[in-house]
């Protein structure tokens, strides 16, 4: 059975809008954020995302795992690009060293060296602001949108009946997959299987993950087959369908959509005029050797 995200009715800024309006605003937010690498501009989007997160009505304990995952994910990749210097090389041509740390040993003639530059530092902060803004706004959606309205929301956004229902099922597939994975993990642990003891080379490790990967995949496939049977047996897809739930835009929904469109248009204009590109503050450059 398809399970849903932990939705419930809350005193929430997201739930105060029509779900279609919020999805459209979200897409506008996403597009606008992607125009910029300047931390000053990104700070606006980060602030907006923080505001929405605090007004989402979702308690920390409800989303603790999701937040920790996002924080860990963003920090890991920011640190990785900071340490390697890769990732931002298309945004800046030259680097200004703040510090150069050299290891006291060498490996086959290569001396590990860590360059801390003004550009890498700013790139790491910009990336944290950019990715975490998008991640925050994204992760709030499944906790805030009523699963019973997924299909009619996508239909209302102009998708066909079949695509809208497919997107509805896809939204619910993710938590269902998580539940199936946990059940499979439990079943294999009860047979003495320990994931942290999977050793060996890459191929060997992949092979030893089979007790988890195969049942979860097969379950997902057979589950899909059941869903298709259940839909076929109740005449899905034979023609246009009625959607029992109705959504109605209010003035504030139109205002939100207008704000979103304005935000994209402004972002696009600024980007075309050359604003919002990667920025390194002067004081940081002054600190450089």
């Amino acid at each position: 059975m398809l399970v849903t995200w932990r939705y419930r009715k809350r005193n929430s800024i997201i739930q105060s809008f029509d779900p279609r309006a919020w999805i459209l605003f979200f897409v506008c937010f996403l597009a606008s954020t992607l125009f910029f690498w300047d931390l000053r501009y990104l700070a606006f989007f980060f602030g907006l995302a923080i505001f929405v997160a605090f007004r989402s009505g979702i308690a920390w304990k409800e989303m603790r795992r999701a937040w920790l995952f996002i924080i860990g994910f963003v920090l890991f990749f920011a640190l990785l690009t900071f340490l390697t210097g890769r990732g931002g090389i298309e945004l800046y041509k030259e680097e200004h060293d703040l510090a150069v740390l050299k290891a006291g040993f060498d490996i086959l003639g290569w001396q590990p060296t860590l360059r801390i530059t003004a550009e890498r530092t700013m790139f790491a902060f910009s990336m944290i602001a950019r990715v975490s803004s998008i991640a925050m706004m994204t992760i709030l959606i499944p906790y805030s949108l009523n699963p019973a309205l997924y299909g009619v929301t996508f239909r209302g956004l102009g998708f066909s009946d079949k695509i809208a229902y497919a997107m509805d099922l896809t939204m619910r597939f993710i938590p269902t997959f998580g539940r199936d994975f946990t059940q499979t993990m439990d079943a294999q642990r009860a047979r003495g299987y320990e994931l942290d003891k999977v050793r060996g080379g890459l191929l060997d490790q992949v092979r030893r993950l089979a007790p988890l990967v195969v049942p979860v995949t097969i379950h997902a496939l057979s589950g899909s087959e059941d869903i298709i049977d259940a839909m076929d047996l109740r005449a899905f897809g034979v023609g246009p369908r009625t959607w029992l739930d109705e959504l109605k835009y209010t003035r504030r929904d139109y205002a939100l959509i207008a704000f979103g469109i304005l935000m994209v248009a402004l972002s696009l204009t600024l980007a075309m005029w050359g604003y919002g590109k990667f920025w390194v503050p002067d004081f940081l450059l002054a600190l450089a050797h």
Binding site: A187, V213, I218, D232
Partner: protein, 550 residues
């Protein structure tokens, strides 16, 4: 007064007529159905029984049009629904003529809310919102579940899900209703309620096809006709009364008194008594001990409350109780998959907090309810070797353990078959064998007989009880007869608490308490209780027959 020609035609056209139907799946060489002929009249219940893999589900797929539309293969013969050949009409039309409730309501329910679920088919028929709401409310009212209308489907109990799935089908107003093993995952009271609804619908004029292993339960609603299938063929088709004589009572579960009558004539060899019986020593050190255990998945709602329980060597414990009572949560604590929020669970006097699941698995083998969550290996042999290999058993010992486990579940010779290509019933037996091969001291089984045919599960339960390595066996079941036949101790669980704990005679003789906990006395239980004065312990029907003839 002369009847209208259309009315005359309607009265003579059977709701379902099947002529010379054969089918072979595209991927298989052998026929799944062979020359099926049947005719069902309006207002009748047709019971379709047979062992796992006999072709029942394939027949259902042919009738509801999934064959050949979704499942490809070679189909010959014809199926007429209300006189219309189903190959000539659209699936949308078929879905209005035949309503199908799949085996597991969990796999059929698509809507997140009851209202949306019941409305799904009507939305697809593009009815107006007003008509959809009228029909949804009528279907919910008919099944007396109007109070569930705004509830989320995920949080419904097993019985409620079954009724909601049925409401979704009834709302489409079919003339023929087909239910594929609707009782498989239901507690006895929910199963009884579902059957009462089926009878009521038939009495109102609907034609019902009921595919079910739990024949004894279905006989209670007196189906007009019965089919018994083996190997894709009909072995018996006729009035239900004739089934009891036409079929061997070891193949399907008949009422106890019928078995007693027939066994008294044939005098079968009695099965060996469970090996563990008589070794029960409650004074000895407990193998598993729950000490004031409470648990909840979410802080607001507790699933287990203050459980105190000790399992001693030699005990065979049956755990009964309604869907959602906390039975599975209870046994998951024994293997350490769940840790108590308060209190402690001890395995062999070691706190499960200090043990990994893998460490506990060496002592306690746990058969999950669903086999599909564990099967992964390319062959049955590798599947069964997985557990003992993880537990570092020696290769030569593993080979022997695998063979013995296969013998117990009646699957010898299937070592090289891919488990995932087997039927559900066979997969379930592989999952049981996979745990048996681990040679744990304690065996825990969650619904071992669900979805299994009678002959198979009786055979493997008998064989498991004979295994020398188990110090104790626990099983969760909705089948009261499993508790009657095999258990030395019965736990009745409800609302996260143990509401009764004692010998089968003590727990199962209090009918008021059983009914309050959605357990329904069976004919075998009644037969045992009637002979209580003559018996030392509960016995199966064949043994009762022998006792009677002595």
């Amino acid at each position: 007064m002369a009847s209208h020609p259309k009315e005359e035609r309607m009265s003579t056209t059977p709701p379902l007529l099947i002529e010379n139907l054969s089918f072979r799946y595209r991927s298989r060489s052998e026929l799944a159905l062979k020359n099926i002929n049947l005719r069902v009249e309006a207002g009748q219940v047709l019971l379709i029984a047979g062992a796992s893999g006999c072709g029942k589900t394939t027949l259902a797929r042919c009738i509801n049009g999934l064959i050949p539309r979704s499942y490809k293969g070679e189909l010959t013969g014809r199926i007429l629904i209300q006189g219309q050949d189903i190959r000539a009409i659209s699936l949308a039309r078929i879905s209005q003529l035949i309503g199908t409730v799949l085996q597991d309501p969990e796999r059929q329910i698509l809507g997140t809310k009851v209202l949306n679920e019941v409305a799904f088919g009507l939305e697809n028929l593009q009815l107006s919102r007003k008509e959809i709401l009228q029909r949804v409310d009528a279907a919910l009212e008919r099944l007396k579940i109007s109070h569930l209308r705004e509830r989320e489907t995920f949080h419904l109990s097993g019985g409620e899900k079954q009724k909601v799935a049925l409401a979704g089908v009834l709302a489409m107003q079919p003339s023929l209703l087909m239910l594929d093993e609707p009782l498989a995952s239901l507690d006895p009271a929910s199963a009884q309620e579902t059957l009462d609804i089926v009878r009521q619908l038939a009495d109102e004029g609907m034609t019902i096809l009921l595919i079910e292993h739990r024949v004894e339960d279905v006989l209670r609603i007196a189906p007009e006709q019965t089919i018994y299938m083996t190997g894709g063929e009909i072995r018996y088709f006729g009035p239900t009364a004739g089934l009891e004589e036409a079929v061997d009572y070891s193949e399907i579960k008949l009422p106890a008194e019928k078995i007693i009558q027939r066994a008294a004539r044939t005098r079968p060899t009695p099965p060996p008594p469970p090996r563990l019986t008589g070794r029960s020593t409650t004074s000895s050190r407990p193998l598993v001990r729950f000490e004031n255990v409470s648990f909840g998945y979410e802080t607001e709602r507790s699933v287990l409350q203050g459980i105190n329980l000790s399992i001693h060597p030699g005990e065979i414990v049956a755990i009964l109780g309604p869907n959602g009572a906390g039975k599975t949560t209870l046994v998951k604590h024994a293997i350490g998959l769940l840790k108590p929020k308060s209190g402690k669970v001890w395995i062999d006097e070691q706190d499960t907090h200090s043990l990994s699941v893998a460490q506990i698995a060496g002592q306690l083998g746990y058969v999950f309810q669903s086999p599909s969550h564990m099967l992964f290996a390319p062959t049955v042999r590798e599947e069964l070797s997985f557990g003992p290999t993880n537990l570092n058993h020696k290769p030569e010992a593993i080979a022997q353990q695998v063979q013995e486990a296969l013998q117990i579940v009646n699957m010898s010779g299937m070592e090289n078959i891919a488990p995932l290509s087997l039927s559900f019933g066979q997969q379930k037996r592989v999952s049981i064998a996979a745990i048996l091969a681990m040679r744990s001291r304690i065996l825990v089984m969650d619904e071992p007989t669900a979805g299994q045919d009678y002959r198979n599960y009786m055979q493997f339960m008998d064989a498991i009880m004979q295994m020398p390595n188990f110090d104790a066996i626990l099983f969760i079941t909705h089948d009261v007869d499993m508790a009657v036949i095999y258990a030395t101790r019965v736990l009745l669980v409800n609302n996260g608490q143990i509401v009764a704990d004692g010998s089968p005679a003590e727990v199962l003789s209090d009918f008021d308490r059983l009914r309050a906990n959605r357990v329904v006395p069976t004919s075998l239980l009644l037969a045992n209780l009637q002979r209580r004065g003559q018996l030392q312990s509960f016995k199966r029907a064949e043994e009762l027959a022998l006792e009677t003839t002595h």
